[in-house]
């Protein structure tokens, strides 16, 4: 069997990635003139759309990085055969991270208080709850964490990809293999600690929970993590299926796809568990300062999206992914992966806009255009990285385990 070393970017692939980025840039320009310079509601829409999409796609690609780190730390053999695809998607983190950083920088230092109400100093001074949170919700603290989070995600990701690529030079001896695995373990552990501190704690509180600065939920960050992790594994599945269809990844087969399907299934249930835990406690206690969050969502303008979200992200996976054959079927996995990516995008939509524009749903072509732009960036960057470096980590100590993998 001849192996195809590198991904060759076809003209169709190039056209799609550049076309989608073009749609995104066009939407940004049109959106800026339609919404970006108007009154508060218009500006809230403009910056809300940018934030929603940039945070969502950054968190999703970063969840792919987490998948890579977690499976490396767990010494999981199955992921080695498509490891380079995971790495290539994770290489989007620096790119989308920079975009997110610029957007947050403009919002925070441009005092866009229609997005983050805690940016309005006179309002904070009058409000007991907000002034009590001033130590946490202030521009300095916010930006420090943002820079540190995005910077370290990118740097540790870069380091882990470098270690992985170094193994391509020559076959490893037993001693070298042991050293390689240990080195990977150390960096993966570092990434996971930092990921836990940022994504599973501070970053969603700062970036998203502070849209409604009075309201708080302790498992909010976990909820965001579960949401993005499902979408991240879905993204990996889509790319793996695409590469299989193009005749790459010769050693990846249904067994590996089955494991990705299991991840999607399991974490969809985990997401629902967190969704319900957050909902039920607030519903049961029935304290008005907490239930305000669900007022706009479960009963107000966003109720359609709110329950559609539950159908796509819970009912569809549990019913479709329940049986073994469906997790091994390329068509079903592709369909469900796209559905879950969209479903969690919707989830983020109601999280962001249910707080900053609670009165009515303003979803329109601008939302989809910007989302298309980010999808284009992910396709472009992933394709570029896959075409640059070998697709099979053939000297990895776990490579054989990955080939003979059987579920």
């Amino acid at each position: 069997m001849s192996l195809r070393e590198r991904f060759e970017i076809t003209s169709g692939f190039r056209m799609w990635s550049r076309g989608l980025i073009g749609v995104g840039v066009l939407s940004l320009i049109i959106g800026f003139f339609v919404y970006g310079t108007g009154d508060d509601a218009h500006q809230a829409k403009f910056w809300g759309v940018l934030l929603h999409n940039s945070i969502y796609f950054l968190m999703v690609t970063n969840a792919v990085m987490f998948f890579f780190a977690a499976t490396t730390l767990a010494m999981a053999g199955f992921q080695i055969s498509f490891k380079r695809v995971t790495e290539a998607i994770a290489a989007c983190v620096p790119v989308i991270g920079t975009i997110t950083f610029i957007i947050l920088l403009i919002i925070v230092f441009g005092h866009k208080s229609m997005i983050y109400e805690w940016l309005d100093k006179t309002k904070v001074a009058k409000d007991a709850a907000l002034s009590g949170k001033r130590g946490f919700l202030n521009p300095g603290f916010f930006m420090t964490w943002t820079i540190a989070a995005i910077g370290l995600w990118s740097l540790i990701g870069l380091k882990m990809r470098q270690i992985s690529r170094k193994s391509d030079d020559h076959p490893m001896s037993l001693e070298e293999g042991k050293k390689f695995v240990f080195k990977n373990t150390v960096w993966a552990a570092l990434f996971i600690v930092w990921y836990a501190l940022t994504v599973a704690a501070v970053i969603p509180w700062l970036w998203m929970m502070s849209f409604a600065a009075h309201w708080y939920s302790t498992l909010y960050s976990w909820y965001i993590f579960a949401s993005t992790f499902v979408a991240g594994v879905a993204l990996i599945s889509i790319f793996v299926v695409y590469m299989k269809n193009k005749g790459y990844l010769e050693y990846t087969n249904r067994e590996h796809l089955h494991d990705l399907g299991k991840f999607q299934f399991a974490f969809s249930i985990f997401w629902t568990y967190l969704w319900f835990a957050q909902f039920m406690l607030i519903w049961y206690a029935n304290i008005s300062e907490e239930t305000i969050y669900f007022k706009a969502r479960a009963e107000g303008a966003y109720s359609g999206i709110f329950f559609l979200n539950l159908v796509i992200n819970f009912l569809a996976p549990i019913l479709i992914y329940m049986s073994t054959p469906s997790k091994r079927n390329y068509t079903i996995v592709t369909f469900m992966s796209v559905a879950l990516l969209f479903g969690h995008w919707l989830d983020f939509y109601q999280i962001v806009f249910g707080s900053i524009l609670p009165d009515h749903v303003t979803m329109n072509l601008f939302d989809f255009g910007i989302a298309a732009g980010f999808v284009g960036i992910i396709i472009f960057q992933t394709g570029r990285v896959m075409s640059k470096y070998p697709l099979l980590a053939k000297n990895n100590p776990f490579f054989k385990e990955s080939i003979i993998h059987y579920t």
């Binding site: 319900f276 039920m280 519903w283 049961y284 029935n286 329940m322 049986s323 059987y406």
Partner: protein
């Protein structure tokens, strides 16, 4: 419940066993079962076993658990003895979901274990014939049922050529029985008496 004649071959190596299983099936012998000390991936496919129906059974048990919980709580809290708890409606689904979930898990778990035991004919005091005790230790034991057409000597030779370390014929009860092993063993000591 029937006493049948079996040819039992013991194998030392997993790879040899796999090849032998395929040979036996393609030669048209009636493969009764393969007993191994540990689970072997892919052996079920090599033997041509159909997929297990445990998941379907589990789904049905789970659904009945959900229904039981829903009906039980509705009966007590809505129909039989409605209570005002914190001003919540009597029929308040969110509060019930944890219990519905727990009963779903309980019913499906217990139901699947019992179904599994039933399918494997495992229960307290129930005995089944062991073809070779070394199947619990270090041998892979393949059992082939002798039909009217099977030539026993030819089959034995076939198995040894396929790599079996040890081949012998056994008369065995295919079903389960209550009681002890030693008492019932005696029945099988003279194979010809029973076959005739």
């Amino acid at each position: 419940m029937a006493i049948k004649k079996f040819v039992v071959g013991s194998f030392e190596e997993e790879e040899v066993l796999f090849k032998a299983v395929r040979k036996v099936r393609s030669a048209g012998y009636k493969l009764y079962d393969v007993y191994t000390p540990m689970a072997i991936h892919g052996l079920d496919k090599a033997m041509g076993l159909r997929d297990t129906s445990i998941p379907t059974a589990g789904f049905i048990y789970g659904i009945s658990g959900t229904t039981t919980a829903l009906l039980g709580i509705s009966y007590t809290l809505v129909w039989d003895w409605p209570l005002n708890i914190g001003g919540k409606p009597h029929f308040s689904l969110p509060a019930w979901i944890p219990i519905m979930f727990e009963l779903t898990v309980l019913f499906s778990a217990v139901g699947m274990v019992l179904t599994f035991c039933y399918l494997c004919q495992m229960a307290p005091f129930v005995r089944k014939h062991h073809f070779s005790l070394r199947a619990t230790d270090d041998r892979f034991v393949m059992v082939i049922e002798c039909t009217a057409k099977t030539n026993e000597e030819e089959l034995k030779l076939f198995l040894s050529q396929a790599g079996a370390e040890e081949v012998h014929t056994q008369m065995a009860e295919t079903g389960w029985w209550l009681g002890s092993y030693s008492r019932n063993r005696k029945t099988f000591e003279n194979p010809n008496a029973i076959l005739a």
